[in-house]
């Protein structure tokens, strides 16, 4: 029995157990005992109204914040003290945000190379990887262009390229299509799913768009800081 539990735990890339998160010394409760498991290459959509805790949960899984109570394990090891969080951010997880969060004065290429620069990666290898990602996202002709010159969809595709530069195992996307029109949303979302699939990524995505969410392997409904339904 013990062995089988351990083996089940090992198969989860992400395992969040009894996660509580509150601010202002408990006055503002955001997450109230969330449990979530994600397997390798699984695409999970987190749905729910604004303020239900979707983004907070992604931040905790990505190591950007720490839970008030509970444990987040990634690849079997808990996040927090004792774990090299800089290495974790560089190599194990990639982020995509609603507002792209790109550096406007840099070119698309420079923005995408940031994670490689942070990790001290070989420049030639990083450029080869970027060429590949740019080709797959249809942005090869935009590599030398500044971010200000790119459209909303192109910016979000740039953010996807950047998130995948160091080949992370987990991709956390917080409303990645929230700022895009319907047509572009659909294209970006499809690209995100395709890339996750081909790269073997575990995708956790917060979204309001239930139509797009339905394309994921699982949809988790969040409400008042709890996961209500897992379908």
């Amino acid at each position: 029995m013990m062995l089988s539990t351990k083996s089940a735990e090992a198969s989860f890339v992400v395992q969040a157990t009894e996660i509580w998160k509150s601010y202002e010394q408990g006055a503002i409760a955001v997450l109230n005992g969330v449990n979530l498991e994600a397997r390798k290459s699984e695409a999970i959509a987190l749905c729910g109204p604004s303020g239900c805790g979707k983004s907070t949960l992604l931040h905790l899984i990505g190591g950007l914040d720490q839970p008030t109570r509970g444990t987040v394990r990634v690849n079997g090891e808990p996040l927090g003290r004792g774990r090299d969080m800089v290495h974790f951010m560089r190599h194990e997880v990639g982020f995509i945000f609603q507002l792209h969060n790109l550096i406007p004065d840099l070119t698309m290429e420079e923005n995408c190379l940031l994670p490689a620069v942070a990790a001290g990666a070989n420049r030639t290898a990083a450029l080869t990887r970027l060429q590949d990602l740019a080709e797959r996202t249809g942005l090869k002709h935009r590599l030398k262009h500044r971010i200000q010159k790119l459209s909303g969809g192109e910016r979000q595709r740039t953010a996807i390229c950047r998130a995948l530069m160091n080949r992370p195992g987990i991709l956390l996307a917080d409303e990645p299509t929230g700022s895009l029109d319907e047509k572009t949303s659909s294209a970006v979302f499809k690209l995100l799913l395709d890339l996750s699939h081909t790269e073997g990524l575990t995708l956790l995505m917060a979204t309001h768009d239930r139509g797009l969410a339905a394309s994921c392997d699982r949809v988790l409904e969040m409400h008042d800081g709890r996961i209500r339904t897992d379908c």
Partner: protein
Amino acid sequence: MIFLRLILVNLLRHKIRTFISIAGIAFSVAAMLTVVTVLEGAVGMFSSILSSGAELIVFERNVSDLFFSDVPPAARDDIAKWPMVSHADAVLFGVVSSADHPIITCFGVTAADARIRNATWLSGSAADFDRGANPVVLGERAAEFLGASTGKDVPIGHGVFHVIGVIRTRNGFEDGGVFMPLSTAQSFFHKEGSSVITIKLRNKEDAAAFKAQIHRRYPNLIALEDAEFSRSYSQFKILKATAWAVGGCGLALGGLGVANTMIMSVFTRIREIAILRVNGFANGQIAAIIFGESAIVAVAGAFSGLALGAIALYALKEVPALHGYVDVTIRPLLMLIVVVLALLTGVAGALYPAAYAMRIKPVEALRFE
């Protein structure tokens, strides 16, 4: 390369702010360079007035100023006979006044003194130096501002002196002074001896032996080598300390400017720093970007300041009133010290901003879209 771009991008994004910071450091460096060079030059000149090519200066121990030093004539006569001594010239320094010029330096010297021997005589002759009644030789600038020329009488202090010549020296202080035979000066200043005795040795290596002999034979006198005198003379020390203090204050102000710029730089891109953190930038890398920015500002400011300072010094040299007073020899060591100080100031100015940037929590910075 991208790391450098990250450093430059913010400086170029706020060009005016960057320019003002660089200008702040540049003016500080220029001020420090100019003040220190001018004052060190002045000290050097003053020092050369005292020694005038000699290797050692003998004066009364424990006097607060050389004007108050009184070396007995017997001591000079005795020292001049020591085998290791080539020349021993008594010099009396005094301050005299004329109608429009309350302070004129007066040198009481013998005809054998290097000042008289080595000067360019514009009129008159060194051979006549100690002939006649109340003779005086004027420095070129002194002749100018006293409106006197050779053959005329000039009122100085309570006396009237006969101008027997006008000389040009390479030293601004001397050019603005008057030279009297030692006996005339002693009588004018009511002194029996002299302020100093300048010593030229037969062999420079005898300096230590000479000093020891002075200490033994004349415990109330002290002999110092030229450089030693410049270092230890309290007036010079005060001047040098003042120069460095003024320059240091300028640099500190420049540093505050850099600190202000860097604080603004961090505060206005908290979100951008958060993005870098999310993309795997470690604290050290974030700090390196901030320090890199301040280092570029400091280096650009330092080199602009060196150029500005050099221009200012050459401009000062060309001012007629300062002819002979400003020595514009910029020492490489001083340039290095100023550049290093500017860099340190830049780094110090970035300490708090860098520490602040390292404390930025991405989740808080990114929460506000």
